[in-house]
Symmetry: D2
Subunit: 338 residues, 4 copies
Amino acid sequence: MIIVMQAHATPVDLAQVVSHVEGMGLRPHVIVGTERTVVAVVGAERAATASGLETLPGVASVLPILAPYKVASREVQSEPTVVKAGSLVVGGKRIGVIAGPCAVESREQILETARAVKKLGATGLRGGAFKPRTSPYSFQGLKEQGLQLLAEAREETGLAIVTEVVSPEDVPLVARYADVLQVGARNMQNYRLLEAIGHTHVPVLLKRGPAATLEELLLAAEYILAGGNRQVMLCERGIRTFETHTRFTLPLATIPWLHARTHLPVIVDPSHGTGHANLVESMAAASIAAGADGLIVEVHPDPKLAASDGGQTLDLPAFGQLMSVCRRIAAALDRSLD
Amino acid sequence: MIIVMQAHATPVDLAQVVSHVEGMGLRPHVIVGTERTVVAVVGAERAATASGLETLPGVASVLPILAPYKVASREVQSEPTVVKAGSLVVGGKRIGVIAGPCAVESREQILETARAVKKLGATGLRGGAFKPRTSPYSFQGLKEQGLQLLAEAREETGLAIVTEVVSPEDVPLVARYADVLQVGARNMQNYRLLEAIGHTHVPVLLKRGPAATLEELLLAAEYILAGGNRQVMLCERGIRTFETHTRFTLPLATIPWLHARTHLPVIVDPSHGTGHANLVESMAAASIAAGADGLIVEVHPDPKLAASDGGQTLDLPAFGQLMSVCRRIAAALDRSLD
Amino acid sequence: MIIVMQAHATPVDLAQVVSHVEGMGLRPHVIVGTERTVVAVVGAERAATASGLETLPGVASVLPILAPYKVASREVQSEPTVVKAGSLVVGGKRIGVIAGPCAVESREQILETARAVKKLGATGLRGGAFKPRTSPYSFQGLKEQGLQLLAEAREETGLAIVTEVVSPEDVPLVARYADVLQVGARNMQNYRLLEAIGHTHVPVLLKRGPAATLEELLLAAEYILAGGNRQVMLCERGIRTFETHTRFTLPLATIPWLHARTHLPVIVDPSHGTGHANLVESMAAASIAAGADGLIVEVHPDPKLAASDGGQTLDLPAFGQLMSVCRRIAAALDRSLD
Amino acid sequence: MIIVMQAHATPVDLAQVVSHVEGMGLRPHVIVGTERTVVAVVGAERAATASGLETLPGVASVLPILAPYKVASREVQSEPTVVKAGSLVVGGKRIGVIAGPCAVESREQILETARAVKKLGATGLRGGAFKPRTSPYSFQGLKEQGLQLLAEAREETGLAIVTEVVSPEDVPLVARYADVLQVGARNMQNYRLLEAIGHTHVPVLLKRGPAATLEELLLAAEYILAGGNRQVMLCERGIRTFETHTRFTLPLATIPWLHARTHLPVIVDPSHGTGHANLVESMAAASIAAGADGLIVEVHPDPKLAASDGGQTLDLPAFGQLMSVCRRIAAALDRSLD
């Protein structure tokens, strides 16, 4: 870290900072400039309890240098992680597409959707059985019955099942049915849940929280990785900004930025990322062009009847059109959806 | 809700919307304007599954009318809720101040802090035993041992204990020791946790998530209230914006806005809300002036040694100064801290 | 507009609202619901001075219905506007690429850049002569001498000149040299400037302000269009959000959203939109995939020596690589860069 | 500045950075850490063209150290600037209150308002004659006639006139009538306007842009100060965030943060900062409690008839109530509104 002293800091202030840093077991380098003095501390910064340094007299600010994540970092593993969950392969040349309804609503609905998206090229099936809903008065999901219907859909179509788990105590149950455990945006910093998932060997789709920095996303992944589970996919699904014409703002620069820093694959969710069905295809195409390793898309045979998120859900023809465009763009970049 | 049709919507589009609304059991009112036609639907909107309406042909947008929360609403209960947890009373004329360290670190630290803040006028003691930390490599709290130390501090000082619970399975344990269960900002939408707390009778301090709208905050409170627990305090602790000179941006208009819509008391956390000790006193004073029913403030006998959040933590003299300023402002508004 | 009454509004409140609306020359439709009463007003809303309505007793909120822009709207002109400025054609099948340095620094620099980007496929040359700089102590541009150098570069290469104008009084001067007048993000709501440009016939590149909604962008365009100048290109260049790993957050859903509402072409600036050279190619590719009609990219023969914005500037090989990727993606979507 | 090298940077990369820094006339200090090497450069950083440094091979990031503003800084002038404009005195113990309508609409309206706010304790009169409006179809102000009416109101009441100037060419005209030139939020980075005002000796009220950092606000002030005009008041009027229940989010931590860094007084605009009349009093009170040196408030004898901004405008009794509360809070802090 770099400790910047105030312009009027005294020699006593400086000595106290130096001594405090030494007391932390680190080595300070004092550099006296024409306008400011700085103390550079380059060492095992992560372990240090530096939070109180800025309260010392004469300290103007403390700037960190090291990224706080480790196992997720490219510096630790330079080749990309390829996540495999049954028919779903994500990472490297292969782009995986996960499609399906927001929530599992009925046997007919999920089976019809599964058959159709499989035919159109999806390799994963999404569908919520445990639904975290903003309002306690909204539909909360079919719970275990929903998981059974998803398993039946896998049985018939071979699609990998991607479904959300919302509480540490549900992890064993959901892991019995799912090929991929999804951590929703609201739970990105539910550390107990991350820890519980870290102790399984089931692949994970970790969604970015709408106010999370990418460093916080990588640190959330680090909770899972640190538990021993290395099969983590990161998912950009939009952030909260002042924009209101979309439900969230979908920042695709996330993709190359993460690729430069982590070996974990990056998935994009253009459905939540926009909130409007008519924007989903363009943003799916843009995601592939920006290097995404996969997509997760809300698809329903009849969106106007969907129990939740209908406004951002594609019908089957629209999903077919999305797949066709994304296939062409992937091909132009020497990658493949199939 | 109001359904706004596109300028070029056809009579067939309109008929389909009307019939869809009727199929939802609601009554549509069609109003034909010079440039647009709108369909007004004023009814049991909350129960309706309206999410798919905007995918119907010819629909430009769907505007909600009713606020989605009920039990939290002023329309249901007009007089303010007063939360009482031992010596801590929040709501009405009484302003409660909760003070203490970010985390319980040792017996000596928590007892020294408790005695000092009690003397300076606090009526609640904060201190984390279960710490949700952004990095898996940071100090995670003393767990049950921390709770025992908090109970000991209560024993000696009479201060009400306010401490965080991070997982539904911990609720019984933490409820055994705590006078107030704190739900942290990261867990504001951890619905299982909210439900578990809703089934206790322990008062709750519910922190706003840094990207949560006030409607989402009230809906999170609604999860607790709907479970039967009516002793809920809402806490503004800052939102994530483009500003970087503060850790979060602390929007105090939250206070009068919430007071106009809910009977629940509103607490402000100027420590997390700014992230810098030298801004805390001003924002505490501003909170009282804006009508806050309480404060929660990080205080440590020696902030530079704090295991976490040291940069935003007041030492004891600074906390005394804060109390003195807040007392004068409360008096100017005919309220009282004591 | 829709006027939502409070739950406890009285008949007198309602009568006053109705009478106020009638006094505005508009026709109110009162709809009494089970929980709320609303007053729908569908008429010449834009002309009305509605801003005081929400202060009337009993009014809970006022929701607008009509979009406030007109001439820019697809409802007024359904076929896309194609902007032509010399060799630069933007709109329809043709994608235009504008490349060049942040600022014109010297004859050699601008000529070398112009020749190189022309060869790599650009049809427009960017370069600032009047530079609006955040700090008064930064390089402010070569002013008219810079314009002369740009004209010389056009002479030699045939590239269309795109350069910024920052003040109404400079419009005649800059218009003498430029093929496209650029309005920078800081000036998007400099209405005098927009009006002055609206009275010329020179094509315009109008950049979105970093905190502007898309409605505000369209209203800024409306100032130019209302003056008689219809050759307006809209430019997304990133918005200010809580993200700090990029200089701005680049929201590409802007492209399909604008295309659905306006006939004006949409350009993307991936250089300012990310702030880092290593993210520019991916975001340029994503922009084309999302349907952008053009790109504006910062390119310099030696970015480390650039007088401004060096960190986000591509060198010539990187720009060549960007063009090659974008060409392939455009072809996959049946569009063309050439 | 601090240049952080990548973990895998080579000695050749390091040598190139060192040599580049030396070529800029600055002195690099290389510090080799266990995980990273950093190059500290502490010197005349502001003058340097550092923007290209991060494009050098092996460079991970470049962190600035020095604040980029000078004349506005507390380090240059430690005692607070007191701005005096006729009867309006802002800074030190004295709190100034500027009140009046959004726009001057008629002789009767402005005179009635002036008399009333004067009686209630205001020392400045606001009122727009040149109105920058988001839509070209909205009321644009009475221009010079509006200025004459303001002057007449000053004649009668002695209030200082605070009115906006939107273009450099209008500065001489507006300066003939106004006691304080207001720079609106949209023009905070209209540098030509700032320069023109910097060459007058008329006091200035500089509003923060809704997406401007406080550093950018201070740099905008620096444009005026650098021209020789030292009578600058900074004005916080809210920033754009994801919140929609208020028009802007009003971050009052601005006040103590600015007071610690600049000698210029800080004014708050609770009308634009909230956008709703019923939130204005609380936020005015909070501003005073947080240490604001003044307020600027929208007041109109009949807000529902206001030509603009009616929803956020106080009527006269509400303004009287605001003054009474603010007076009590100021007194509690040993300051005075009168």
